[in-house]
Symmetry: C2
Subunit: 436 residues, 2 copies
């Protein structure tokens, strides 16, 4: 039976905008190694394939409505590659997946750090390729604004090639390390990269042995045509945010259909949509958990979550209708959100509370069985090979999922009760890729 | 009584060019977290202030004499910031000092990773500022060659200012994290950097709380006038390589004499020369240890160590005289080394074995008492505030030092028997600096 792959999104204290305010949360958790140690070890005990850390390279929302930014917890966070490195010796089997920007990093540095994490964890590292879109990020790296979309994706595509090239600097059997003869490696098994491209010139080789899993696992999230093309060519795992089954199936097909033309098999690439489960012993209990979280959303934070699309609505009645976007700077981006409010008859408050939880990701409020049903349906109808589980708040929502959903999935034979292998690639059932 | 500060240089498997061939060594140690865990925990048990990791951003020696590069162990190494992050939860008190390049990094990324390590270790991180001189390094970052000296030091100086500015993005008491009111931080205690300089434009703030030790500790090694100026202004600790007492005293004075003019006190900056101790229970035993290591130097590796200064001497008799440099590309750099060989009457083999061990650093071959005598002399005559201990090979030479030198220093009241504080800054006796 086809197995579900499960990632745990460690979006610091949880993905819900009010996560840190939940009474079960540790409000300084995002700066505390012990907090992440507890979550990661719990995820490993539950046999998750991996923990995943998203990332931003700035404090966002500098121009958001007054009083919203100081209510965000995303202003004080440990950095992912260092945090996952610290978690490596504290775990044994779970994958450690760090986001890394192709726009604001050097490929040599990033290739080196990810492969170092990979070696220290015995082959459990992954790299989530992102191009970084925020203007605030750009301003921290000497740019006035984010490079345009095509430039970012062209650069990302070349960046991934350079990184993979560096990861293949040495063959697996290159190192002899014979103390007697004094020969450390076989020169015929070391390879200079000599990359000269549009964005990068990197000679190599990287001064690191080949990965215990061949290459670290490459994750990618890209919904555009350019993003899908890079993903199908270079990614091992694709993350996506899909609200309903048909959309997920269409996305799944659009990626998988490209694989044969690229010389790749269907099982060489996994598609893992985000899933935010809100679980109760009864549906009513689940709904009550959701309502309790929603009540923690400060209106200023709610308005800030609409700001990028609808502009500043601070002067409007929160319980009145969503005004038609007039500012041309917002108008084109506002359309979908405004139409949603019109269609559902949402007030401003209803709109931001609806969007605040999942923020684009599929959210399911229900019992363990209901959530397992949905996961099985998506798995069996080519909408997903697994899920990136996105808890509203940590550790509580992870514990709910582990206690109320996972045993059901295991009883159905859809999820492991023990790790199959030692490396992330083995546990994900992915082939060892090699450029050589 | 003034206390010695002691760092341990984890130059991967040891500083001696043949370290990895020593029978007591683990030849794949430089890729093995467990190997570094053992060394770091031993250094912590011995109450060293810190472990220090040097770094290079390439495999050096591409054009060295044939057969030399494949005999070097510096071709497969874990990356320092990820390695020290992994060591953070495995240690409790010892400082973790990573080298980071100001030429091939972005200040925002480097500031963030070092401060992340600092938080995860409870305030035990340090950053060793280097400008990266190798041409091979440049070729991995899209440059044809290393930027010129002045450019690198100007950039380093500005880079350090940006990093320190980012480390001060939030006041120590900025974070309220009040779940009830929903206020996460006090906006008056967050500071945008808005740096616009010759090399960098960085808005900030950095999304991380202030360091538990105020700021991570800044290390710097610079012997030139430009290097000394930056060190005196911005460093907490200065590393240096000095062969004899008079040179060390002159360097010490040249740095310390600048401090009053910069508004800094004498004890605000520590000078820690490198020291390679080769210790035996008797002088003869120490000498035998040294000779055994020297015998492990392959002639090709020895010739490679002379190559940068004297060119390729492969065609000469190893036991004949050192030829006068004729190639104008080498002539100016060769002068000091050639004169040394002339003065001492060294053969080629004698020259490279003499230089291969300490490579510029003070080496002392002797009993524990003799080495402790020398350390005390340097400490008490303003040549050093402590030492960066550079073992020839690890872990053996560290264990020798710990067993045969440290107890003597402790008996003299010159070195701690227990850590004084929780942070690196506290243990080094350095004040908490603050830009605010």
């Amino acid at each position: 039976m086809k197995q579900l792959r499960l990632g745990l999104s460690m979006f610091r204290m949880g993905y819900h905008v009010a996560a840190w305010r939940h009474p079960g949360n540790q409000p300084d958790g995002s700066m505390d190694l012990a907090y992440f140690r507890g979550i990661t070890q719990a995820a490993e005990a539950a046999k998750f394939d991996l923990v995943f850390m998203a990332d931003e390279l700035a404090i966002r929302g500098a121009d958001n409505p007054a009083g919203s930014r100081c209510r965000s917890s995303h202003v004080a966070e440990l950095e992912p590659i260092t945090l996952l490195s610290a978690l490596a010796p504290l775990t044994e089997r779970i994958g450690l997946v760090s986001t890394g920007s192709t726009t604001y990093s050097e490929p040599f540095n990033l290739a080196r750090q990810v492969l170092s994490l990979d070696h220290m964890s015995g082959g459990r590292a992954g790299w989530n390729v992102v191009t970084s879109w925020g203007k605030e990020d750009a301003l921290n790296f000497g740019h006035m604004d984010t490079p345009d979309y095509d430039t970012r994706y062209d650069r990302a595509s070349e960046f991934v090639d350079v990184v993979r090239g560096l990861w293949n600097s040495f063959d697996a059997d290159a190192f002899i390390r014979d103390q007697k003869s004094g020969i450390f490696y076989d020169p015929d098994k070391m390879h200079e990269l000599n990359h000269q491209g549009q964005f990068f010139s990197v000679r190599g080789p990287l001064h690191m042995a080949r990965s215990p899993q061949g290459e670290p696992v490459i994750f990618f999230a890209g919904d555009s045509e350019a993003g899908r093309a890079v993903a199908a060519r270079a990614a091992d795992v694709v993350f996506t945010a899909k609200q309903d089954l048909a959309d997920a199936q269409a996305f799944y097909a659009s990626i998988k259909d490209r694989l044969p033309g690229l010389g790749r098999d269907d099982e060489d690439l996994l598609i893992m949509p985000g899933l935010m489960p809100i679980v109760g012993r009864t549906k009513a209990e689940a709904q009550a958990k959701y309502d309790a979280l929603q009540a923690l959303i400060d209106p200023r934070v709610g308005l800030a979550s609409l700001y990028d699309r609808l502009g500043d609505l601070s002067d409007y009645d929160l319980d009145g209708p969503v005004p038609e976007p007039k500012d041309p700077a917002f108008r084109s981006r506002a359309e979908g959100m405004y139409k949603l409010a019109q269609r559902e008859g949402y007030t401003i408050r209803q709109l931001y509370t609806t969007l605040a939880a999942g923020r684009g990701h599929r959210m399911v409020i229900g019992t363990g069985e209901e959530i397992a049903d949905e996961m099985q349906l998506w798995l069996e109808t080519r909408a997903a090979d697994g899920f990136n589980i996105i808890p509203t708040h940590l550790p509580d929502a992870l514990n709910d999922f582990t206690e109320l959903v996972l045993p059901d999935l295991q009883n159905r034979g859809l999820f492991r009760t023990e790790y199959e292998g030692a490396t992330l690639r083995e546990n994900l059932g992915l082939p060892v890729k090699s450029l050589r």
